[in-house]
């Protein structure tokens, strides 16, 4: 697995750049990663990422957008506003979770 370094932090990623080790993640790393895709993380952004971390810790998988809405209470339209274009993918990448594929 390739290793990336960003602002002095080292972390392991898969071939598509998603973190492979849960413990490599921190909110500071997320903030630095966000800058790479022209996002400045607000409290609203961080609330989504925290939910994803907590939820996946119990389920073992990256939550879907529907789950973000039904379980997390986030409005899907709001998620598209916070993460333009591809919210599920961007949120997974920023929260250090595997790319959401909903299985095969």
């Amino acid at each position: 697995m390739p290793t990336n370094t960003l602002n002095g932090r080292t972390f392991e990623v898969d071939t598509e750049g998603f973190l492979t080790r849960r413990e490599d993640w921190s909110e500071d790393l997320a903030t630095d990663l966000a800058a790479l895709i022209d996002l400045e993380l607000s409290e609203d952004h961080l609330a989504t990422l925290r939910f994803m971390r907590e939820d996946s810790a119990t389920t073992g998988v990256t939550p879907t957008l529907r789950r973000m809405q039904t379980v997390g209470g986030f409005d899907i339209k709001t998620l598209f506003a916070l993460y333009p274009g591809k919210p599920a993918k961007k949120m997974a990448w920023l929260s250090g979770l595997p790319k959401p594929v909903g299985c095969v």
């Binding site: 389920t59 998988v61 879907t64 957008l65 529907r66 789950r67 039904t70 379980v71 899907i76 339209k77 598209f80 333009p84 274009g85 591809k86 919210p87 599920a88 993918k89 594929v101 909903g102 299985c103 095969v104």
Partner: protein, 415 residues
């Protein structure tokens, strides 16, 4: 003499029927009763739903569930209300209660078109908005296709996971071939619309299948998260503002588990039962196993998975009832034919850890099947499977295909 042990199986589809027949051949007739519950008596060959819009006679996919169960398996026709696992009882909608010592949940998944605004509640439902994940839907789509000679068709997946994740791709290839044969292909615009970032989830298969879409001049609209169907303007609307006009929308509604699973407190947010992915045993109740689409295991919801998993399950179940450690570990093996039109099909073979790869199956080089590449022999294999399903799979005869995936014949992509 001690009481009979009671095994109750919820659902008489592929997994439930296989499990009942395998276990009836394994468990002592004098010591074990096996009862299967289903809400109706019609077993449907679901792979046939893909073909009904094109050529398969609808009545051909249906057989009586009771005739598919071996002697010594009791059948109860009733809808299930909920599982009371503290009492080890299953409550039926008609008020009856069935007690059990061991429970197998094999109640599958169902499409729920009420979860998308403008789908089931829209004026265009079963008119210009169709699905082929139910018997009724597939038959209605056949009529819609017969009268369609020009315009825009969207083949659409609402969200993952869905049963048989390759079926919408197959439909796209078959519908393209359908219009080509009718000589009106140039008047029909076909777009494949998916919430994924490509034609499929895994890189090698996504590239091969995406290439085939391109070869057939089928457009790809990726990363499409549908918000609603606009029934007045005939448009599929995404959260990011994209709008795709259609004259015929063939959608796959969200797939969810059965209501009784949720009502029993056994399901996740989509109604699928969390299990250990290698043993299919419930994570909250050791007396419950879950087979087929009803569980949350991270592999395809497909008949082949139900088949391979059930074969691994039989010995595990016997061990569990005797208090022994479970001997078998299921690897998530799936084996799916993908109809690609032109009388050909592709074959995917994969598991939890290995994505679908190119190569030959089941024998290296000799095949005769080709992995991730269209061929006539794959298509004939898919057609032949219908008889194998009824005559070998459901009765519980072992096929000459290992329930564990093999790397023989597969080529790893170059790093």
């Amino acid at each position: 003499m001690r009481d009979m042990e009671k095994l109750l199986i919820l659902g008489a589809g592929t997994a439930g029927t296989m499990a009942a027949n395998h276990l009836r051949a394994t468990l002592d007739q004098d010591a074990w009763s096996i009862t299967v519950v289903d809400q109706d008596t019609q077993h449907r060959y679901q792979p046939g739903y893909l073909f009904i819009p094109f050529w398969m006679k609808p009545e051909r996919v249906v057989k009586d569930r009771r005739e598919l169960l071996h002697d010594g398996v009791d059948f109860v026709e009733a809808a299930i209300a909920r599982v009371h696992r503290e009492q080890r009882e299953v409550e039926l909608v008609d008020g009856r209660r069935l007690s059990y010592d061991w429970l197998v949940i094999a109640s599958g998944t169902r499409p729920d078109p009420t979860l998308v605004d403008g789908m089931a509640d829209g004026a265009l439902w079963r008119d210009k908005v169709h699905e082929f994940y139910t018997y009724e839907g597939s038959v209605a789509l056949k009529e819609a296709l017969a009268g369609f000679t020009a315009g825009r068709i969207l083949v659409h997946i609402t969200e993952m996971p869905i049963k048989c994740p390759v079926a919408p791709l197959e439909f796209a290839f078959l519908v393209e071939d359908h219009f080509r044969k009718k000589g009106v292909r140039h008047k029909v615009d076909i777009t494949y619309v998916t919430p994924l970032d490509g034609a499929f989830t895994k890189p090698v298969a996504s590239a091969e299948l995406g290439g085939l879409l391109k070869d057939r001049s089928i457009r790809l609209a990726a990363d499409f998260a549908v918000e609603r169907i606009d029934n007045e303007q005939h448009r599929l609307v995404a959260y990011d503002g994209r709008e795709l006009p259609f004259d015929l929308l063939v959608t796959v509604p969200p797939n969810v588990g059965q209501q009784f699973v949720t009502d029993s407190g056994l399901g996740n947010d989509a109604g699928f039962v969390p299990v250990d992915k290698h043993t299919l045993r419930s994570v909250v109740d050791e007396r419950i196993f879950v087979l087929g689409d009803a569980s949350d295991i991270p592999t395809s919801k497909a008949g082949s998975v139900a088949h391979f998993a059930t074969e691994e399950f039989v010995d595990n179940f016997v061990a569990a009832t005797q208090g022994r450690p479970l001997p078998n570990s299921f690897d998530g093996h799936a084996n799916c034919f993908v109809e690609s039109g032109r009388g050909q099909a592709m074959l995917l073979d994969f598991n939890y850890d290995t994505e679908p790869l190119k190569g030959t199956f089941p024998v290296p080089v000799a095949g005769p099947m080709t992995l991730l590449k269209p061929s006539r022999v794959n298509h004939l294999g898919k057609l032949a499977f219908e008889q194998i399903y009824w005559k070998m799979l459901l009765p519980g005869r072992r096929l000459p295909v290992s329930s564990h995936m093999s790397m023989a014949g597969k080529r790893r992509p170059k790093e």
